[in-house]
């Protein structure tokens, strides 16, 4: 919750050595970050108060009038169309050269032939209202000719927008902030507010009784009664300060409670005394199912965890969160019961969250208010009601405070302070700093300080908290820079190295690295026709998702990769190859599982190696083959596979050492059309952890062969169904030791050969370790291979 601190208001409590910008800097450097400084008169600096001294009809326009406006040193002519102007009226005037908050620059103009040297402004033109005003703003008492408008409206002020961290609860009130500033500046006196009460004769105990049933949830409860209040607007100065602090004025009583909230950080609540049945307040847990209409007119169903303020008929308010409509102060209210209390922070937080009702009050109670300041805040409010709402304060105050505050004591060793901060301070220096922050400190000798923590410092519970205070006052930036040596060698694990190597190899293969959100939508899996019983539907679901697009965690990298290809295709990208190394997630039964995957995709690859129209498939497969080679994976094989979103004739399962490690395949043609990919696309995914099990990075040198190699080409025609892998296997087997290498270099399927057949051309390399091979020897092996292919694979050998 953002706290708005008006500079001028804060200044009434402490003499500040800082201008607004300096103050913001000083607070920020002390740990209270100022997000923004706002100048309230922004854009209004040039507007002055003028008086209309003369009004004449415009000769050429019925809707316009010609005014002579007295600005003090001079008088200018302004043509205006406002219906509410009259002679003698004090008005805001924008003269030539001034720019209005809406960006309009004032220039001398001729309006239907009459010169106009400025503009009379309306509230919306000055930026005070969003709605178009019917006429110009007429200024009231206190305005003087020639005065600056920002002076008249007291807008020559700055607002500091502060987002205080939970350990600065004490600074949620201006007095707390002043106290903090006193320590930061090292000087200044706090101007505590006036609270002179003129109490009536009758004692409060004759008028009301209070009972706290649950002391744990309400450690302190106080009440005052103020009679004869006249509900009306709060004084102008108070309303202005509240507006500056971002609080909307309502009436004098509500405004006063808000005003004291801003001063003391103590939420107060005023009940209409006559709406409290039986003149008895009971602070108790709500009954299960008990109902209360809160001030925002919402009916709330309560439970036993919620603390309520009740009378004998039932709840009249949610303790520390929001009042009840049934006890609300309204314009007929005469007598008030003013509550000031300390409620259990955890309980207030639970209630506010349960009911979805965060309020200024709950925000402060949650963070802990100053339990010792409750009465002073109550008295301050009573005083203001006495002064500005005509109230008579009834004698006495009910204060149920069974276990008075016992300040915490902390033993602080100066040696520990120095060790943790890297400083060499004396115990006296440390004590001095803590005293500036109003801790009481006793020096026990031997470098041990006994520190007593003030009641408003609920953020300080042990020595580390005090050490931070010392560091803060010493100045974080005055602490030296040192470094310690590492006792271990830095480095990466095998897995981390393999991740880096994998990225490196993918990048050097030409794939761009992508990073997708792990959060995704189930819709992507539906589109991929993932079957109902697939593990890919075993999503980890977000209980509080932002929206459907981020509702589950991905179970595969592939939907995201496809999405990236599709999005880029929309932006006219024709060729794209990408990879991602990232986790996928499975709900499992109870214990969710994270698995690292390597995925990739390619569309529109330009080189169709085998003229099969599957350029991307063989591009990615080639990358994987090189990758596996680098990783020393020697038992990889590819088997045709059926996958719901892949082309049934162009998909393969990748196995390593007989176990599945991934898939590769071209997207289903229908899917390509649905995604408007324009070109075919292939995707793959590897189970990284499983892959790592088979990685072999050790290498052993094989002696280089000295005798010449003999090359032979072999072209065979086989039925289309025969796989290349099968032919290679046969060739290798028959080739035996002498066959050093074999590779496919051409594939043909088309008009030149029989329908249903294809032709494959292999290059075979023969070599022996101990001699130069003779042709005869090579022919023998070659013929054996040919015979085997003819017999077992139904191959026809083409002329070689």
């Amino acid at each position: 919750m953002m706290m708005k601190v008006p500079y001028s208001w804060l200044k009434t409590y402490i003499q500040l050595n800082y201008r607004a910008e300096e103050l913001a800097e000083a607070l920020t450097m002390a740990g209270m970050e100022v997000d923004e400084i706002e100048y309230r008169g922004q854009g209004l600096e040039g507007i002055v108060v003028g008086q209309i001294s003369e009004i004449a009809k415009h000769p050429n326009a019925d809707q316009l009038q010609i005014c002579q406006v007295d600005l003090g040193p001079e008088s200018i002519q302004i043509v205006s169309g406002a219906p509410n102007i009259e002679q003698g009226a004090l008005v805001p005037v924008a003269t030539v050269g001034v720019t209005l908050p809406n960006g309009m620059e004032i220039k001398p103009v001729k309006l239907r032939g009459e010169l106009s040297y400025g503009m009379l402004c309306s509230v919306d033109e000055l930026g005070f209202s969003q709605e178009r005003a019917a006429g110009i703003m007429i200024l009231e008492d206190g305005a003087a000719v020639g005065m600056k408008l920002i002076e008249y409206l007291e807008l020559d002020d700055y607002i500091l927008n502060m987002d205080l961290t939970p350990n600065y609860a004490r600074c949620l009130g201006l007095l707390g902030l002043a106290r903090e500033l006193k320590a930061i500046q090292g000087k200044g006196k706090i101007n505590w507010p006036v609270l002179e009460l003129k109490e009536t004769e009758q004692d409060i105990s004759d008028l009301i009784q209070v009972e706290v049933e649950d002391v744990e949830l309400c450690p302190r409860y106080t009440g005052r009664i103020i009679q004869g209040v006249k509900i009306g607007p709060a004084p102008d100065w108070m309303q202005k300060r509240l507006v500056a602090a971002g609080i909307r004025p309502i009436n004098n009583v509500v405004d006063i409670t808000n005003y004291v909230l801003m001063e003391y950080n103590q939420p107060l609540h005023a009940f209409d005394y006559h709406k409290i049945a039986g003149q008895k307040i009971i602070v108790r847990r709500a009954e299960q199912g008990e109902k209360l209409v809160t001030l925002d007119q919402q009916e709330r169903e309560l439970d036993q965890e919620i603390l309520v303020i009740a009378d004998q008929n039932g709840a009249v308010g949610l303790a520390g969160v929001m009042g009840g409509a049934n006890s609300e102060v309204d314009e007929d209210t005469v007598d008030l019961f003013l509550e000031a209390a300390y409620f259990n922070p955890v309980n207030i937080r639970k209630t506010a969250r349960k009911l979805g009702l965060p309020s200024e009050a709950s925000h402060r109670f949650e963070r802990g208010v100053d339990i010792e300041m409750v009465i002073e805040a109550s008295n301050r409010a009573a005083y203001l009601i006495q002064q500005y709402a005509g109230g008579r304060v009834v004698k006495g105050l009910i204060d149920l405070y069974p276990q008075p505050f016992r300040p915490r004591q902390i033993n602080l060793e100066s040696e520990l302070v120095n060790r943790l901060l890297g400083l060499q301070l004396t115990a006296e220096q440390i004590a001095g700093m803590l005293k500036r922050l109003e801790f009481s400190v006793e020096n026990e000798g031997n470098g041990v300080l006994v520190v007593t923590v003030p009641s408003y410092r609920n953020d300080v519970s042990r020595e580390a908290d005090l050490i931070e205070e010392v560091a803060r006052l010493y100045g974080y930036n005055n602490i030296p820079l040192t470094r310690t040596e590492s006792k271990q060698q830095g480095g990466k694990t095998f897995k981390q190295n393999m991740e880096d190597l994998s990225r490196e190899l993918m990048l050097s293969s030409g794939l761009d690295e992508i990073i997708n959100f792990s959060l995704t939508a189930t819709e992507h899996y539906n589109r991929l026709r993932i079957p109902a019983d697939s593990q890919l539907r075993d999503w980890v679901r977000i209980k509080n998702p932002l929206n459907e697009s981020f509702a589950v965690l991905r179970t595969s990298l592939i939907p995201g990769i496809i999405e990236v290809l599709a999005n880029n295709a929309k932006r006219q990208v024709g060729e794209m190859g990408v990879f991602e190394l990232g986790n996928v997630y499975f709900a499992g039964s109870g214990e969710p599982e994270e698995r690292l995957m390597l995925g990739g995709g390619s569309m529109g690859y330009h080189h169709d190696q085998w003229n099969t129209g599957a350029a991307d498939f063989f591009f990615l497969k080639g990358i994987l083959e090189s990758y596996f080679l680098q990783l020393g994976l020697s038992t990889i094989c590819y088997e045709p596979a059926r996958v719901s979103y892949l082309h049934p004739g162009r998909a393969a399962r990748i196995n390593s050492a007989g176990r599945e490690v991934g898939i590769i395949g071209e997207l289903l043609p229908e899917l390509i059309a649905e995604l408007d990919l324009k070109k075919r696309a292939t995707v793959f995914q590897l189970d990284f952890a499983r892959l790592l099990e088979d990685v072999k990075l050790e290498r052993h040198y094989q002696p280089l062969l000295r005798y010449p190699a003999v090359e032979r080409d072999l072209a065979v025609m086989v039925k289309k169904e025969v796989n290349c892998a099968e032919l290679l296997e046969r060739i290798r087997k028959e080739g035996g030791e002498l066959l050093k290498a074999v590779r496919l270099f051409d594939l043909y399927q088309g008009d030149q050969i029989l329908p249903g057949a294809k032709s494959l051309a292999f290059k075979l390399v023969f070599q022996a370790a101990d001699r130069t091979l003779r042709d005869q020897e090579v022919n023998q092996v070659f013929n054996r291979i040919v015979t085997d292919l003819e017999k077992r694979a139904g191959a026809k050998i083409r002329g070689n």
Binding site: R472, Y476, E485, S486, L507, I515
Partner: protein, 341 residues
């Protein structure tokens, strides 16, 4: 004409003929004409039989002498012509060196990986190892063990995604601190980069998933000044030697004292601009001394050991370093974006 005269004539004619020769074929013809088996010098030598015994050696010597001279001249001419031919050929083979090269297609590393690699390299050099932890975490590691009890206002500092069975998506890599302390006794010196999650609506500065790197050092006698010295190296390595930085008190439940670190704005160098909201400073990381409550919960004796921890957003570093003004670009994977890195 006596033979002497003829030799002279031959020499003169050869010299004249050589001057007109421009290619190797002509040169070869010339050689055959003068030096060949039926060439003109041979012809002279053949007639030597008619000479007197006195004249014969003289003429013979002169003829051989001429033969050798011509041979040398022709050979030189040959070398000269060959050289010219080579030069001409290379001239013809001249290429437009400004034509584009045949680039091997290389992939582009994602900017976040570039940053993450740089950070890892820096810390490995400082003797850190890289720790890892799951993204799906339990409440204890993400909150309680980090000194954020249930119902503490500090839980408001981040909006967390919750899962079934009391699991959640870690909202900070600080969870890895807890996991490391559970597995290892001090001294500890780790960084932990990874994905984190917060339920922030997507906009130019928020994504529900982003990246952090956490650092943790625990040993005897580790001080706030050690934290400052380490952060100094981080700032210098990532943002440059001339970068100014400052420590500012802040609040994190799991560190005390806690600090926020700002660097002088990388656009305006401190003068004030839009990027730094006119402050001249940019917030880049949070840090502090490990809270004694955290050490105690991890079973580490805080009287003997102390430590510091820090955490920074990798996405933020990437945005600042590369001048990226919208965090969503990091996850849109637009080819035009990816290929800039």
């Amino acid at each position: 004409m006596d033979l002497k005269e003829r030799l002279k004539k031959i020499e003169l004619e050869a010299a004249r003929a050589l001057t007109d020769i421009t290619d190797l074929e002509q040169l070869e013809a010339l050689r055959v004409e003068f030096l060949g088996k039926k060439g003109r010098i041979t012809e002279v030598l053949r007639q030597m039989g008619k000479l007197s015994a006195e004249e014969r050696p003289q003429i013979g010597q002169a003829a051989n002498f001429l033969k050798e001279r011509l041979h040398n001249i022709i050979e030189n001419k040959k070398t000269e012509i060959e050289q010219e031919v080579r030069v001409r050929k290379m001239e013809e083979e001249r290429i437009d060196v400004t034509l584009p090269g045949n680039k091997p297609r290389l992939g582009h590393r994602h900017p976040l990986t570039r940053i993450s690699d740089q950070v890892k390299e820096l810390f490995i050099g400082l003797g850190f190892t890289i720790a890892e932890g799951p993204e799906i975490e339990n409440e204890y590691n993400n909150f309680e063990a980090l000194n954020v009890p249930e119902h503490h206002p500090a839980r408001d500092l981040q909006d967390t995604f919750y899962l079934d069975y009391n699991y959640l998506l870690r909202s900070q890599t600080s969870t890895v601190q807890i996991r490391t302390m559970a597995q290892k006794k001090p001294p500890i010196r780790i960084i932990a980069p990874g994905r984190v999650y917060r339920s922030d609506e997507l906009d130019a500065s928020h994504t529900p998933m982003f990246h952090q790197v956490e650092g943790l050092v625990i040993d005897r006698g580790i001080s706030f000044s050690d934290l400052k010295g380490t952060i100094e190296l981080v700032v210098r390595a990532i943002y440059g030697q001339e970068r100014l930085f400052r420590f500012r008190p802040s609040y994190f439940p799991f560190t005390e004292p806690s600090a926020e670190v700002d660097i002088s704005c990388i656009v305006c160098a401190g003068k004030g601009c839009r990027l730094c909201s006119e402050s001249g400073w940019l917030e880049i990381l949070g840090a502090g001394m490990v809270h004694p409550n955290v050490l105690e919960m991890a079973g580490i004796d805080f009287k003997q050991y102390s430590g510091f921890a820090f955490g920074m957003g990798l996405d933020r570093i990437a945005m600042l370093k590369y001048g990226i003004n919208d965090i969503r670009l990091l996850f849109e994977n637009d080819q035009r974006f990816l290929r800039q890195f």
